[in-house]
């Protein structure tokens, strides 16, 4: 068993604040008192380890879960999962979910007047390989309206949930698409103070992983909190 990590401190500005009034839902849900700083304890240095049994052979392909293919622009989303030290995170569970090509989620609370697609559930899972790589096949999600502010639309995005090594590396985020004009108006995307950290949530067009006559490639690399560098490594 590998020694559970002692994690590096979070760099100021690279993560959103809890309260971001432009995102209305944060106002009554963000904690108002300062967080209490924990010393490193094994309870947070360790975390669940998911095995191959968690993921089915075709769970990474959101276009093959039904009798027919979903409507929309086929995409391949791939990338590497690394830690802060640049080391690949292997065997990490990634869960994804997204709207269909019309911008509609298969969820009872989604009231958007756009059609559901009987051939698209919008959910996938994958484990990273020994080099920290993952690959998903899907369709490009549509933008959709929400009620945060006047004429508010969410930019197209895919939700990512990731379990790294240790509970403190747990990450839930959203991947966006390059060139989306809605990004400039989106309070969720714009909640991150650090401009570089924000821009890194936008995937890049990936010509090398674009499949001729089949699907466009997008690359989305993800970095999880990692262990404190030891003097030997520096």
């Amino acid at each position: 068993m590998v020694e559970p990590p002692i994690f590096r401190k979070v760099v100021t500005g690279t993560q959103p604040n809890y309260l971001h009034p432009e995102y209305r839902s944060s106002v009554k849900r963000a904690p108002t008192r300062p967080l209490i700083v924990l010393p490193p304890t094994l309870s947070e240095r360790t975390g669940p380890v998911f095995g191959q049994h968690t993921v089915g052979a075709s769970d990474h392909d959101l276009t093959v879960q039904h009798a027919r293919e979903p409507l929309g622009e086929r995409i391949v989303v791939s990338g590497r999962l690394l830690d802060e030290g640049g080391k690949p995170v292997q065997g990490a569970l990634i869960e994804v979910w997204q709207a269909n090509a019309a911008g509609r989620y298969k969820h009872k609370m989604d009231q958007h007047q756009a059609p559901l697609d009987p051939n698209f559930s919008g959910f996938g899972r994958v484990l990273t390989d020994a080099e920290g790589r993952y690959r998903l096949v899907s369709i490009k999600p549509g933008a959709y309206p929400w009620r945060n502010h006047a004429n508010a639309w969410r930019p197209a995005h895919i939700h990512f949930s990731i379990f790294g090594a240790g509970l403190l590396s747990r990450l839930v985020t959203q991947m966006y698409f390059p060139g989306d004009p809605l990004l400039a108006y989106d309070p969720i995307f714009n909640c991150i103070p650090d401009e570089r950290a924000k821009q890194r949530l936008i995937s890049t067009f990936d010509w090398e992983n674009t499949l001729p006559e089949f699907a466009l490639g997008y690359r989305f690399d993800i970095v999880l909190r990692g262990r404190e560098a030891t003097p030997m490594e520096e």
Partner: protein, 188 residues
Amino acid sequence: MSRLPTASQTVGPFFSIGLSALCRESIECAAEEGRRVTIRGRILDGDGEPVPDAVLEIWQIEDVAKQPEPGERNIERASLPFGFGRVATNESGEFQFSTKKPAARRDVDGAVHAPHLVVLVLMRGLLRHLLTRIYFAGEPANAEDSVLKLVPAERRQTLLAMAPSGSEDTLLWNIHLQGQRETVFFEA
């Protein structure tokens, strides 16, 4: 080479599409000893309104050495790792899960840790998830717990799961996101 960690974004209102497949109300444990307890409660926002779209992830370590390596256990696909659970709130903001109450232990630095569960709180409106802990009311080791000692005395009760009179095995623990009884949240 050093890289900045990817920024967090909210789990949003529709997380159940992606996360419900691994929701379980019963946490599997490696430990053979330990009393099975059910913990239930509600999540309330700053107006005292229930939060119907939250998901909790619960983690407890038992014996680090007993955590299986990937692929080690020949188990069915539906099984989750020992010590891990995930539950969503219902339309009334209520949640419930059961687990084996962990034992008190000493950390690698010798610090005393009373029995506790680690809880991650995710929901629409939270741009980052929250980290908190559940301790057990009446547990003698609480007085020595190195984390509880960091919490102002008047706020410690927000971390205690309480047994209503007449019930030893069902404990109540609510999360108040804001207000007088705001739950203690941690960072590390």
